[in-house]
């Protein structure tokens, strides 16, 4: 998608078939994609609407439903950017906006984060080289301990990814002063902050002579692969998700799992990795390669996978919870012990539902563990 394309350009192709409306997880409670597009086509101003913020940008309406392949998520992003420019902020932040505040702070050129403060020594990293690992906000989630009571361990994901890469003979670059990818501010319409972050990160990676960036997070992957080139013209790195990297190594016969890892797992396709980037098979291939591991597919998987309910820290409410309940019920019904996903936010949201406080909670999802893909592979490798 070109940056120059306006919302009107994107939706010009729509012929109002309504396939998207039937697919939208929130189609019952907000204006469906078709209606929003129709309003734009009829020249109405949607910037003041709450529904543009309610959209999960999961792209379920686009892939594989839309016959004209209109990228509705992209359309919403453009509309949101316009709305913010016009000063309409009809959304409700969650978590007191702390994560976006942190991102905005990071965008300040005078502030440089120190991401290697708690880095374990056995995960070998270099300062310069061809391959880099993009850590993103994971370290930050862990350091502020905001989610430690949910049983997540975000701090171990990046070191584990480095250990896996080390196992394959790669010593990746991990930048000490790398900043957030800016995904959440971008999808909240804050182009300005995003631009700053993108430019900063591009320069930082260029300085380290990086040619290829590996990501563990689905959102970082999408942002680096699609949005960075749109905002920073000289962003010419090869972006690859860790699962794709591992799948390639398996094809080359370089990655073998030494021992059995007897678990039943199911895989949740995050919207950003799946429908946005089209990566469905690589994580599955890696998991199927693990001896002893059984992969059970959910009713709704791959293109049809349901969203986790909230995107970019906006509008968490009953509807978001209902979606999560549906998704975890689906996952639990497969009989899997572990729900694997590649997006830390999905993990966080599922864990939030699992960790409802009190004895009297009406829903019980304690049977299933939510785990990041990297953690699973690291466990299978015996780290």
């Amino acid at each position: 998608m070109q940056k120059s394309m306006t919302a009107e350009d994107i939706v010009d192709y729509c012929y109002q078939c309504g396939k998207c409306s039937g697919k939208c997880p929130l189609g019952h409670v907000m204006k469906s994609p078709r209606v929003l597009i129709q309003e734009i086509l009829l020249g109405e101003d949607v910037a003041n609407s709450k529904d543009i913020w309610r959209c999960l940008t999961c792209n379920e309406c686009t892939v594989p439903e839309c016959p004209m392949s209109i990228n509705f998520a992209e359309f919403i992003r453009t509309v949101r950017t316009n709305a913010v420019r016009e000063g309409y902020l009809n959304f409700r932040e969650t978590h007191h906006e702390i994560f976006k505040t942190a991102t905005r702070l990071m965008a300040n050129p005078d502030i440089t984060p120190n991401k290697l403060l708690n880095w374990p020594e056995d995960a070998k990293i270099s300062k310069e080289g061809e391959t880099a690992l993009f850590v993103g906000c994971l370290e930050f989630f862990d350091n502020v301990s905001y989610f430690d009571d949910m049983g997540t361990n975000y701090g171990s994901i990046s070191p584990d990814a480095v250990r896996i890469l080390n196992e394959l003979g790669e010593i990746p670059v991990v930048l000490e002063d790398e900043k957030c990818c800016g995904h959440d501010v971008l999808w909240s319409g804050d182009e300005e902050t995003f631009q700053k972050l993108a430019e900063y990160n591009t320069v930082a990676f260029k300085k380290a002579n990086v040619k290829r960036i590996v990501t563990t997070c689905a959102e970082c992957y999408r942002t680096l692969a699609i949005d960075y080139p749109n905002y920073v013209p000289d962003f010419d790195f090869e972006i690859i998700h860790l699962s794709e990297f591992l799948a390639k190594k398996i094809d080359e016969g370089q990655l073998e799992f030494p021992r059995h890892f007897n678990r039943v797992v199911t895989y949740h396709d995050p919207c950003r990795l799946g429908r946005h980037m089209g990566v469905y098979d690589a994580p599955r291939k890696v998991m199927e390669h693990i001896p002893g591991l059984t992969l059970q597919e959910m009713k709704k998987s791959k293109e049809k996978a349901l969203c986790c309910g909230v995107s970019s820290w906006l509008n968490c409410d009953d509807y978001a919870k209902a979606i999560r309940v549906d998704r975890l019920t689906d996952a639990q019904n497969t009989g899997a012990q572990i729900l694997v996903n590649t997006c830390p936010k999905c993990e966080m949201h599922f864990n939030c539902l699992k960790c409802e406080k009190g004895e009297d909670k009406p829903l019980d999802f304690t049977k299933i563990e939510v785990m990041d893909f990297v953690t699973l592979v690291a466990k299978a490798l015996g780290f």
């Binding site: 019952h28 968490c316 009953d318 406080k357």
Partner: protein, 517 residues
């Protein structure tokens, strides 16, 4: 303040319909609290109704009580639950759920006009009248005394022939002019929600070991309450002073205080004055350790001396009975540690009363502990009315008990405690409130609240269900109990979806609109 409180849903449960319970119900009801007054006996008034006169004013106890009974019946905020017991309590301060079991009276309150026909015709006169402390007898259908509130009669199921002899006797039902007798009444369970519980069960039990040590087994030695009944015009002897063994007027009476509490001494002096009023020829001895050093009672003692009451300064050591005359020989140690004795016709013992044995059950229902003597264990010396369970208060059980003055002091204290805890002036703390549409029921706020002011209500969401059709989403919604919220704001910082906010919603809206403009 009263009008503001009237709008709120504050409610209080008062257990025990004695003078402390009645007065606290009236005070709280006046302040707008919905008050549930639960009494085990068929009538309210408690031990005070059994008294003749009150010291030091020598006022008739019923003269004092009857206007209170009237207020009790008229106040719309008071729900009077006599012949009832608390059977279950759940929840915590600010949000107790109470189950009250109302035992059947077998007489319909709305119809009964207390004409006494049923009691006149009832053939069963076998039971010691507990109102007269075993000195008289009563029928199976009865009212404890004429002015009892509520006035409705009650049938004692344990002795009534209808229940115990195969429905043999229905005399009262046949003869009742109003048709008020209903043998088919069943126990009724009521559920009420209250903010706080006041235990005002008072004291009624004697310590038997102490009584028998000082000769209570002898016929002519009575407890204070028994003698009080004898003095009272509506008592078993209709106010005639007699001794139990021969039903003759005694020539001398000893009033013996077993320890040096004010209430016992004052009670003894009061009874001595009453005896002198009724019959100046009876010799009265008041045996007490030291004198009553209290300014309030100075005139009272002066009056007793003028009436001819003799004081003996000493402490009782033993009581013996003359087997022929049934007279009592009381041995005491005077100030000089010499043992003396006096011989009297009858004697009255003033002992410490203890809470009734039913308290064990009540304590287990309320989750409280009793000490060795059967009193509820209090929280601390600085909070003498509070129990270890927040929101449950105990009044009128001070060791100086039996004193109505002490009970009234407790009532005033507990009323101010409850008003300040559960209906504090609106302005002094901002309260947290939940925006229900955003609450996802995760429960973090409830975990975080240091005052247990947040509870979660399970609700069925009528959402257009998103994907897997057929799942109805049961979720929870946080609820802030305003009476418990202290406005600390911890919940606000815990909420992941910013559904809990803090302060006055209208003011917040104004601030937000002012900032965004």
């Amino acid at each position: 303040m009263a009008s503001r409180l009237n709008e709120s849903n504050n409610a209080v449960l008062v257990i025990g319909g004695g003078i402390a319970g009645i007065q606290s119900s009236l005070d709280l009801a006046k302040l707008g609290f919905k008050t549930y007054l639960v009494e085990k006996r068929p009538n309210v008034g408690g031990g005070m109704t059994q008294l003749d006169k009150l010291y030091p004013t020598m006022e008739d106890s019923l003269y004092y009580l009857t206007p209170l009974f009237g207020d009790l019946l008229e106040n719309p905020n008071i729900e009077l639950l006599t012949y009832s017991e608390v059977t279950n309590v759940t929840g915590s301060a600010g949000n107790f759920q109470i189950t009250i079991l109302k035992r059947p009276r077998f007489v319909e309150g709305a119809k009964c006009d207390a004409c006494d026909t049923c009691a006149t015709v009832c053939p069963m006169v076998t039971v010691d009248n507990d109102f007269n402390v075993g000195l008289g007898r009563r029928k199976a259908v009865y009212t404890p005394f004429t002015q009892a509130v509520p006035k409705t009669y009650v049938i004692d199921k344990d002795i009534c022939l209808y229940f115990n002899a195969n429905k043999m006797c229905k005399s009262c039902q046949i003869l009742c002019p109003k048709g008020a007798i209903d043998f088919d009444q069943k126990p009724v369970e009521t559920q009420v929600d209250v903010n706080a519980i006041i235990i005002a069960t008072g004291v009624s039990r004697h310590d038997d070991t102490i009584l028998s040590k000082f000769g209570y087994d002898f016929e002519n030695i009575l407890t204070a309450l028994e003698f009080e009944r004898i003095l009272t015009p509506n008592g078993p002897t209709e106010g005639q002073i007699v001794r139990i063994s021969d039903r003759q007027t005694p020539e001398s009476i000893a009033f013996i205080t077993l320890d040096s509490s004010t209430s016992q001494k004052a009670g003894a002096i009061k009874q001595a004055i009453r005896v002198k009023e009724k019959n100046p020829n009876i010799e009265c001895f008041v045996l007490m350790n030291g004198t009553l050093e209290n300014e309030v009672f100075a005139k009272f003692i002066q009056r007793s001396i003028e009436d001819g009451v003799s004081y003996i300064d000493g402490s009782i050591s033993a009581v013996e009975e003359d087997p022929d005359s049934k007279d009592l020989v009381i041995q005491y140690e005077d100030k000089t540690k010499e043992t003396n004795e006096i011989k009297v016709n009858t004697a009255v013992l003033f002992d410490k009363l203890l809470p009734s044995e039913d308290m064990t059950q009540l304590a287990s229902v309320l989750g409280l502990k009793l000490n060795k003597k059967g009193f509820f264990v209090k929280k601390s010396k600085s909070e003498p009315l509070e129990t270890k369970n927040p929101g449950i208060f105990v009044i009128g059980d001070d060791l100086q008990q039996e004193s109505i003055i002490a009970a009234m002091t407790d009532v005033n204290a507990v009323v101010s405690k409850i008003v300040s805890q559960f209906a504090p002036p609106e302005l002094w703390t901002p309260k947290a409130f939940v925006e229900t549409e955003y609450c996802i029921g995760c429960g973090y706020c409830r975990e975080a609240c240091p005052f247990y002011a947040i509870s979660l209500q399970v609700v069925e969401l009528e959402l257009p269900v998103v994907e897997v059709v057929g799942i109805s989403l049961k979720t929870r919604k946080a609820q802030v109990h305003e009476s418990l919220c202290r406005g600390c704001g911890i919940c606000v910082s815990e909420c992941p979806v910013q559904a809990i906010r803090y302060g006055d919603p209208e003011t917040l809206e104004q601030v937000i609109s002012a900032l965004t403009e």
